[in-house]
């Protein structure tokens, strides 16, 4: 089976509308050659998980600036599990204090990205760590 383009979804769970980072990343992923889907703001964990399954993405990137990541990120991972989609690898970013990294890794996130990282470094990390799944 030929290796296909990586499919990635950028999503904003919760109520905060600070989407500057999410939109910059979506464009960066598109420019990096990934098939990119952006959900827009104000999605619930249920909506995001369902959309990720429907779009058959390899990777789901969550962005949260409101401090609600401790609830929203694990809840999204949990919804994916319920849908039997634990092969979708979840990463997250935003205003995330050091003390919360482990909470998020324990919840099943593969990567956590915070202010200061360059777009190039994020792309590099994804290329090294996310493998397009071959189930189709």
């Amino acid at each position: 089976m030929a290796k296909r383009k990586l499919r990635i979804m950028v999503a904003k769970p919760g109520l905060d509308g600070h989407d500057r980072g999410a939109r910059v990343l979506a464009r960066c992923f598109r420019d990096a050659g990934y098939e990119t889907i952006y959900t827009g703001c104000h999605q619930t964990p249920e909506e995001i998980a369902a959309a990720a399954v429907q779009e058959d993405v390899d990777c789901l990137g969550l962005s949260c600036m409101s401090g609600a990541h401790r609830y929203l990120f694990p809840a999204t991972v949990e919804k994916l599990r319920e849908l039997g989609a634990d092969d979708i690898q979840v990463i997250g970013g935003g205003i995330i204090p050091d003390a919360d990294y482990q909470v998020l890794y324990d919840a099943g996130l593969k990567g956590v990205f915070v202010p200061g990282i360059t777009l190039d470094d994020i792309i590099k990390w994804i290329n090294e760590n996310i493998v397009p799944n071959m189930k189709d």
Partner: protein, 560 residues
Amino acid sequence: MYFAKELLDKSSKMRQQWEDEVKKSVAKHADLKEDWSTVSSLPINRLYGPEDIKDMNFEEDIAYPGQFPYIRGNQVSGYRGRHWTYRMFSGFGTARDTNTRWHELLAAGQTGLSTAFDFPTLMGYDSDDPKARGECGKCGVAIDTLEDFLVLVDGIPMDKITTSMTINPPATILWAMYCAAAEIKGVPLDRIGGTIQNDMLKEFIAQKTLMCPPEPSVKLISDTVEFGTKHVPRWNTISISGYHIREAGSTAVQELAFTLRDGMEYVEDVMKRKGLDIDEFAPRLSFFFNSHIDFFETIAMMRAARRIWAKAMRDRYNAKDERSWWMRFHTQTAGCSLTAQQPFNNVVRTAIEALAAVLGGTQSLHTNSLDEVWCLPTDFAVQIALRTQQVIAEETGVINTIDPLAGSYFVEALTNEMEEQAWDYVHKIDDMGGMVGAIDKGFPQMELADAAYTFQQQIDSAEKIMVGVNKYVIDEKAEIPLLDIEDRIEKEQIARLNEVKRKRDGKAAKKSLDDIKNACKTGENVMPHCIEAVKNLCSVQEICDVYREVYGVFRDPAMY
């Protein structure tokens, strides 16, 4: 012509000599870099001289403070008679938590209040809605009903202190709570003063606190303008905001242009829909700008803003009252200029930005705290931020004279250039059928997306520098104390809401909601009904659900 011909002839010869010398000098010692531009990538010359402002007209373009076009300020006496208002944005946890912080801030010398609501309140959901999970009290104070609001303003002299509330889709409701609270405390509506942000257009463009589609959103705003004009004359019913547009990634010119064009959209709607004369309501329109790290660009933007607005009000809308020509604005230093790395450097950035806002002639100011890049600020960090304003006002001497940068070749030239570019945008948006039309086309949203992406690439390539991020990076981590909002607040708030719903007169609440629904359907002003509804303890979400039902829900079109 701004200068005599004789002077310009002399000046241009001398300038030529200087340019020749520069060429020689640069040939020997090259400049440090090729690109010299503002943080918004607006190119800046090595030097400005009389030639750069020779076409200005003193009477129409500069004049004196208190004279058209008010570029030098609205007030004739500058800051000597009164400093700008120290207005720190605050709100977290429960109404009681925030009320306690407010009393501390007033005791520390703050002169006005400014309310941050949590995301559920901002979006029109109660604390018990599933969408509110994890957000309650996190980024601001949780308000569900008038009972919460009365705790929020407990002990606050509502006839003396002005209060700003950053609230947009549910602005009618939170303002109704303020009005109801004042009535309960025996303060008549014509004695209360303050501001509701109530600017939905910038939400579609930038901040994305979304509820209903643009058209009915603007209708609700016109309702508040009409109600304020008739009953609450000291209230600013809109704070037309560039702040969030800039934070979402715009350039300074885009902030200027989109904000002023938003203002024009509201003016046109109120005149058309409500039939009010421009001079009846225009004096209460207020603005809100971002004071970014590029010092002169910020100052020029603010000076240009006053002049554009004065011209627009006089010439485009035929306002006759001088107070309609004034642009009054609040400023906040740029959150997006702060860094998570080496956070104590943020104190320096904020001080420089605050100074720019003062030299730009702001009427009130919020200075960000050093830890705001991480969380809501701690008391300690807020105090430094407030003291920053007080040091500028009391120690630096910058308020001794009004608009000290006027007449600077550079500042005037930059002001002119930004004004010109802003008018180009305004006319472009006019051609799209106004700002609602432009938003439908995604025009301002995509302009911001482009600018934000360009800036991120400039940071990644170190074409633009952020100290501690892409230059002078160190490994060590500064340990700063962070404010943690406990998850218990959610439980407490939900219990409180349930209690209020249990004890209220259910029939009266239901009738109030029906009245609002009818008003929405007939196009009647919703404000009197909202005041009645909050008195009957209808919640923020109950009223917003009526708006959503009648007007429909607007979903983020997710453009990038």
